[in-house]
Amino acid sequence: MTPSIGSLPPKYRVTVDHDRCMLCGRCVENCAYGAFRMENDRILTNSRVCTACHRCVAFCPRDAIDVSERPLDYRSHPVWTRGVREAIYNQARTGKIVLSGMGNALDYPMIFDRLVLDACQVTNPSIDPLREPMELRTYLGKKPQRLDLKRREDGEVDLLTELAPNLCLETPIMIGHMSYGAISLNAQLSMARGVTEAGTFMGTGEGGLPEPLHPYQGHMIVQVASGRFGVDIDYLERGAAIEIKIGQGAKPGIGGHLPGEKVNGAISKTRMIPIGSDAISPAPHHDIYSIEDLAQLVRSLKEATEWKKPVFVKIAAVHNVAAIAAGIARSSADAVVIDGFRGGTGAAPRVFRDHVGIPVEAAVAAVDAKLRNQGIRNEVSVIASGGIRESTDVAKIIALGADAVYIGTGALVALGCRVCGNCYRGLCPWGIATQRQDLVDRIDPEVGGRQVANLIHGWTLELMDLMGAAGINSIESLRGNRDRLRGYMIDQALMDVLDVKSVGA
């Protein structure tokens, strides 16, 4: 049966300026999708396969390549958008669920961009981070309700309260969980080097901990997700902390699976499954069907690692996120990760990516308020993730109540990612979302590590300046400090949730 829909307009058009082109062939070499070929001393292009990853543009020494988006668009219509029409064509052909890459692609208003930060003028002096110490060190984990102290005869004071293990971050910026398999070893190694240098942490995702990452294990948070891939006692003991993944902002409520074709020898080894086997993570953990069961898994992980490691629980930001987080705070967990609906992913059903879940700004504000109202804010740290794009987002989400953030896409962009959204193809020309060795080799972990460390360093400097300008010299004084935020053109209901005033008020 020949489909009657015909071919769709190309998404991109690649053109080569032959006057500028010096026929070096770098575009042919760099494009993993085969958009370029050299014939009779001329570069020819196939726009149909282009993903606008810009690898060719970035490596053309003559700026001879131009990639334009939607060179031939559909007849414009505010309801029947290109995305909507193309999903229908796809499903009319296949009858299946449409999968897509990266994060939420719908044009929802960005709450971060409707919140403005404060600065000192006259009545209180701003602080110059160059001459004053700025405290960004952040401890993640349980804080005691009170401290019991005893003074010894020699005048020294002993602490009688037993403290729960905490993670010590030099800056409140961590890198979230992206598994070996979803991304390449060199991408993971780059981030591992970056977070180690920056004195912070990154997540392993549910792909195990490959041996080359063992030297950085003191900066790795190991993940236990519903598939339990790569999880054994050795893995749990290596991690600086353990994170139970309940849900993910990009696809709340559903599981995930790494298709068998991506399970090569090395990935099979770290996930501990046969080569070529699908790695299926069910939607729920089948040993967690209640909040009590979650507490059991949290305590089981602690018991297995002799109560030496903080245990985090990551949930997707959904409607009742505050009540759920309050339950988690009572489960012995040390931190709750709130993953907003803009969180990225290698692959998610389009409808979930774009329509399920809520923004992290509202979720974190609601969670922080609920925990404070119940008097248990000290029981868990709050980590915000999903759509953190720059240092101001970090400052704003901390002012809304978060202790620290996870970045994901941002760290990949620091490695060259152009957010083309074709992660699932396995052909990432930047060597990130691929396992093809020649592509993986495009990342030198030393260089990549430098870039990731630079990004975290740059944001940290900006964070210090933003705090100094607001007259704040410690991140603790920014945390939950909604007075440093004002809402600009936000409706009253959302302002109430965020607990911020309007600009001018």
Binding site: N90, I97, L236, I273, S277, D287, D293, A304
Partner: protein, 247 residues
């Protein structure tokens, strides 16, 4: 080395496990826990070559993440014994609760009686590690869902069906579920299909039947009729492949 006896009466699981770990580190090879009453997480994450006898009823997640020890329970076991277990053995002289052997990647579990829901769910195998779950009587719904490896064997010693509830092997993409006395196909989950045993399968199953009989001191002869057994295997190694299309 002589046996270490620990009276678990009224002892919280953390100090109990601390004592077990210290004993294993000191080279003790046999530990006997008396008066166990609902303590969870016994021998969680414990490595090494040690035999632990549990007298009483242990709580949930018995031997979770365990790598090596042999646990023998004289009583029933609660929720998820052998959860995400790596290596070793758990023998239960009684019945066990839900999610027995959940995500188990290695080792063996023998339950003399019956088990609850979601037994053997998401068991998996890798190279030499092939987990085994043998049940004497029957299992409740959702047995062996998402199974990615290993063997579940149910002997139906109680005279009724091994499984008579839905969700049997839904999403199974590796491993096998072997049932004595067959199963009504209405209970087979999506992606699971029934096949007959080959000679090689039967050799493996017979070995497990005899091992079960040895553990619980029963005569294996009544369970050695090959024609009574059926095998549930994946219809495909990619149960979800037909559900999705790329953007």
């Amino acid at each position: 080395m002589e046996e270490l006896v620990i009276d678990a009466a009224g002892v919280h699981y953390t100090p109990l496990n601390r004592e077990i770990r210290a004993a294993v580190a000191a080279g003790v090879k046999r530990i006997r826990l008396e008066n166990v009453l609902g303590q969870r997480f016994i021998a969680n994450g414990v490595r090494g070559d040690v035999a632990i006898e549990v007298h009483g009823v242990p709580g949930g997640d018995l031997g979770m993440f365990m790598s090596g020890p042999r646990i023998e329970v004289f009583g029933n076991a609660e929720h998820a014994p052998g959860n995400t277990m790596d290596a070793g053995e758990i023998v239960v002289h009684g019945s066990a609760g839900d999610a027995v052997g959940h995500s188990m990647r290695g080792g063996r579990i023998f339950v003399e009686g019956a088990i609850g829901y979601r037994g053997g769910i998401h068991m998996k195998q890798y190279e030499g590690k092939r987990p085994v779950l043998v049940i004497g009587e029957y299992a409740r719904a959702f047995l062996g869902e998402y199974m990615a490896g290993g063997t579940v064997l149910i002997l139906a010693r109680h005279g009724g069906p091994a499984v008579a509830e839905r969700g049997l092997g839904s999403g199974i993409h590796g491993g096998e579920i072997v049932l004595r006395g067959g199963v009504d196909p209405v209970y087979l989950g999506a992606g699971a299909s029934e096949v007959a045993l080959t000679d090689e399968d039967w050799e493996r199953v017979l070995h497990l039947v005899r091992e079960y009989a040895r553990h619980f001191g029963v005569d294996p002869a009544p369970f050695e009729r090959r024609d009574e057994y059926i095998r549930i295997v994946p219809a495909s190694a990619r149960p979800f492949a037909s559900k999705y299309a790329w953007e």
